[in-house]
């Protein structure tokens, strides 16, 4: 992929998005997006409408803050998630990466006292607006967790679980969906002869791919992955990473990772987060992954990605 042209496109698109948002007046804190500001100054402007139409982000957080009770865990994050791209969120422990990604399908709602300020737009609709069906949001924005969490059911039933939520469907059709999902998650050949066996008997890496199959079986629009490889060995990690490259043909993917090599390998854009003095996490930089890892604008990002941090 020609890097130069791709990065230029991003710059313009970000610029475009920024301008559009400024036009609407929904991006009050420019400090959270230094890149956007710089791009606005340094790149030849396309027309805002053109750029926005080219890459309207699939999801976009707008000045998003997440609170646990009175404690602010994430502060003013404005992060675009583009369709058919992989967006990585990196940063040191405790900077709010997991909190941020879990807010994208409202999994934080499960934690008592958690609430959000700002907006999370999914196709231009705020998922935190009143009257939004959380269950529907979670069907559109699937999630893969840090530790593989297959249900104690058969492999088949694990993949079919989400599909069955939509009501009864013919057995043949369900078989089809299960097979397709397992094929797409590169697990079919390993499990096709033991679909009725318990998923708990699979290895950790297989379990995680099963969880991915389970997530894509319901045809979500976005897949969130919260450190999906942290409990896996390098071979299983490689498989998951290859799988992500396959999946990004169809989905927007957001991945939280502690592994900077992984972020550099798999992602298209990267958000760098950092804990502020008041312990709230903020996004200090967002850019094309190539740029974050070669010529980041923020000194802290540079220190972090080069391993000189702390």
């Amino acid at each position: 992929m020609p890097i130069a042209s791709s990065s230029a496109r991003v710059a313009i698109s970000l610029h475009g998005v920024t301008i559009v948002q400024q036009g609407k007046g929904v991006l009050p804190d420019m400090n959270t997006s230094p890149l956007a500001r710089e791009n606005a100054q340094s790149h030849a402007p396309a027309t805002a409408g053109e750029a926005a139409a080219a890459v309207m982000p699939k999801m976009q957080t707008e000045s998003l803050s997440i609170y646990y009770g009175n404690f602010r865990a994430v502060a003013d994050v404005t992060l675009p998630v583009r369709d058919r791209k992989i967006t990585a969120i990196i940063g040191p422990s405790g900077c709010g990466k997991s909190t941020l990604i879990r807010s994208l399908n409202r999994m934080n709602d499960l934690i008592a006292g958690a609430h959000a300020g700002g907006k999370v737009m999914l196709d231009g609709e705020d998922i935190y607006a009143s009257g939004i069906d959380v269950v529907d949001i979670r069907r559109r924005v699937g999630m893969v967790f840090q530790r593989p969490n297959p249900f104690p059911k058969s492999i088949y039933d694990n993949v079919a679980f989400g599909v069955r939520l939509y009501g009864r469907i013919p057995k043949a059709e369900l078989d089809d969906i299960v097979e397709t999902s397992l094929r797409r998650s590169a697990l079919w050949d390993e499990v096709k002869d033991k679909l009725k066996q318990s998923a708990m008997a699979l290895s950790g890496g297989q379990q995680q791919r099963l969880c991915i199959a389970r997530a894509i079986a319901v045809e979500p629009e976005v897949i969130l992955m919260d450190e999906p490889c942290s409990a896996l060995d390098p071979v299983a990690t490689l498989k998951i990473e290859e799988l992500m490259q396959e999946l990004k043909q169809d989905y927007a993917i957001v991945i939280v990772t502690h592994n900077m090599q992984q972020a550099a390998r798999v992602s298209d854009t990267t958000a760098m987060m950092m804990m502020r003095a008041d312990r709230a996490g903020e996004m200090i930089e967002f850019d094309e992954t190539q740029i974050i890892f070669t010529k980041p604008r923020d000194k802290r990002t540079e220190d972090y990605v080069s391993g000189r941090f702390g």
Partner: protein
């Protein structure tokens, strides 16, 4: 350090004489001897103490086993001869006609325990879900405290309560007996289900909700199946517990001599029939009472063994 000075050559600066060295060695030897003697004495004491305590605990274990074995042997010896096909398939007959069988009591017990299960199990499981999800709310705390108290309540008190509630002004009935048993089952069902649900990892709940499953669907198709073996074990123990209950039935189900399945009439049960027969001055009834005791014992034992098998199956 002490060993060092023994092997080191005498320090000339200290002008140690041979006699001094001999003296020191003698003192050390005596000290060592005393230490060895003391430790031997201690070891003897320890061995004796060990033997005595082992003997006492073994004796206590035997004493504890004696009533159990005695009861089992007695019940089997005295009860088995009366258990015939007729005894299990016929209802009550007067002693002059041979005494008949206990089919009416078996059916009555099945109805009472079955009805009590139908009433208590759904309530217990649903309440357990509530308590697990809301442990620190006022209602959650109240339910947990309430079930603890209820679990410790003497069963006759429960019987008395149901008597005043459902029997006074109406009549003795199978329904009243079943309600009394259900109240006794409820805390067991609730607490075991609660404990088992707590063991289900939270990640399963997140996984299901993350797929867009509604909360109720998550509870019934993921969390409950994951805890099922433990829950089943608890249910069997609860059923076993109330299968032998007599006191709360005395003034609710009352007992009956006819084969009946009417819920608004008095109904027989195995423990009640045992109680009535054992207090009658008739050798036939006494033999039948022993046979009933054997039946109850086998049922409770089977339920307990079943619960253990399920629990073991889960462990594997």
């Amino acid at each position: 350090m002490a060993r060092g000075t023994m092997t080191d050559p005498p320090n000339p600066a200290a002008r140690t004489t041979e006699a001094d060295v001999a003296d020191t060695q003698a003192i050390r030897a005596r000290a060592r001897q005393r230490r060895v003697q003391a430790s031997m004495a201690r070891e003897r004491v320890r061995r004796v103490t060990n033997a005595v305590m082992l003997g006492l605990t073994g004796l206590a274990t035997l004493l504890a086993l004696i009533p159990l074995v005695w009861i089992i042997v007695d019940v089997v010896l005295l009860g088995a001869p009366s258990i015939t096909p007729d005894f299990l398939t016929q209802s009550f007959k007067p002693a002059s006609l041979g005494g008949g069988g206990v089919l009416h009591a078996i059916v009555g017990s099945l109805i009472l325990v079955g009805l009590a299960s139908v009433m208590s199990i759904p309530i217990g499981i649903l309440a357990a879900f509530y308590v697990v999800r809301n442990p620190n709310t006022t209602l959650g705390l109240a339910v947990r405290f309430g079930t603890d108290v209820l679990a410790g309540l003497p069963s006759i008190v429960v019987g008395l309560f149901v008597y005043t509630l459902l029997v006074v002004g109406r009549s003795y009935s199978a329904l009243a007996g079943a309600v009394a048993l259900a109240i006794l089952m409820l805390p067991i069902v609730l607490r075991t289900t609660e404990e088992m649900l707590k063991l289900v990892p939270d990640s399963l709940r997140e996984g299901a909700l993350g797929l867009g499953a509604p909360e109720w669907k998550t509870a019934f198709s993921v969390l409950l199946p994951a805890a099922l073996t433990g829950v089943l074990t608890g249910l069997m123990l609860a059923v076993a517990r109330v299968s032998g209950e007599t006191a709360p039935l005395l003034f609710t189900a009352l007992g009956s001599n006819v084969l009946s399945s009417a819920l608004n009439r008095p109904i027989a049960s195995l423990p009640l029939t045992l109680f009535v027969y054992a207090t009658q001055p008739d050798p036939i009834r006494h033999a039948q009472a022993w046979a009933i005791a054997l039946i109850i014992m086998v049922i409770v034992l089977a339920l307990n063994i079943g619960a253990r098998l399920i629990a073991r199956h889960r462990a594997m």
